[in-house]
Subunit: 146 residues, 2 copies
DNA sequence: CATATAAAAGACAACATTGTCTTTTATTCG
DNA sequence: CGAATAAAAGACAATGTTGTCTTTTATATG
């Protein structure tokens, strides 16, 4: 019940862009990495993936950088996890037993089942847009704090 | 919301011992690894840790092997995770932000909080003994199935 | 005591994730 | 067009987890 570092970087990068002043159309990797205190080049790779998957836009050259687009706020956390490479573990047994199911449950099956459903539901129904709080003054601080 | 392989091996190894015929006091690594279809030497390392932490007993030499002891059934899954090296993530923010807390929550804080509490509670209050079903004929199958 | 047995221990390889550095490509602007 | 800028891409290192193999240690038995 923990996200990968890639996921965390991706989410925080996106939120940083989402919170940025719209007067400045493109935000550079340098600024994002510095503000979030995150390894620059690694973040670059993650951002690249997000661009490839259409979750963000990017622009090369002077005054270029990254910005959100029409998909960004509608992107679910589940989608984000897929992009950042979290394994697809929808029906997979927590103990990785292939034959585990309701009829032939592994010892953990019943204990875990409900929590996993809640977890999946949360990831699928929470969108980037839900996480942005433009009205909250400490918001940027809360994603920058490391 | 997934256990490490080490954890899975440990749990299944313990349960295998817990289900074994008590007429045979010690069970060898060879048998366990084969029955559970698990890498033998890697399992050996995991079992060694369990012995060191007093969750299992072991005996070298001919007719030696592993067996459960007075602690085994009373061991919680949380304890098992600690032994198998799952990081201690009790108060840690899911995004690994150090300054995240109820007063200065990260964007995921409220969404996750309740689920994490349930997860922690489940791990702390589920014991090895709770997972053994001596009455259930398919039980061994359910931990052997890979 | 000698031998066989089985865990314990240690060395090392495969693999994935994370992180750093350099080169390439695209774009803006003078 | 030429220079500067910034993302894209690629090479490679550090680290952690998982897996394999070999050697050492302890113990039971003849």
């Amino acid at each position: 019940m923990m996200f990968s570092k890639s996921f965390g970087y991706a989410l925080r990068g996106i939120l940083y862009l989402g919170m940025s002043d719209e007067a400045k159309p493109w935000i550079q990797l340098d600024e994002i990495a510095q503000e979030l205190a995150v390894p620059r080049h690694f973040l670059g790779k993650v951002m690249k993936k997000l661009v490839k998957d259409g979750v963000l836009n990017s622009q090369k050259g002077p005054y270029g950088g990254f910005c959100i687009n029409e998909n960004t706020l509608k992107t679910s956390l589940l989608k984000l996890m897929e992009i950042t490479g979290e394994v697809e573990e929808n029906g997979v047994c927590v103990l990785r037993l292939r034959k585990c199911n309701a009829l032939n449950p592994c010892p953990m099956h019943h204990q875990i089942e409900s929590l996993r459903r809640q977890w999946q539901a949360l990831l699928a129904s929470t969108f980037i847009g839900d996480l942005i709080r433009k009205d909250q003054p400490g918001f940027i601080n809360s994603i920058a704090a490391i």
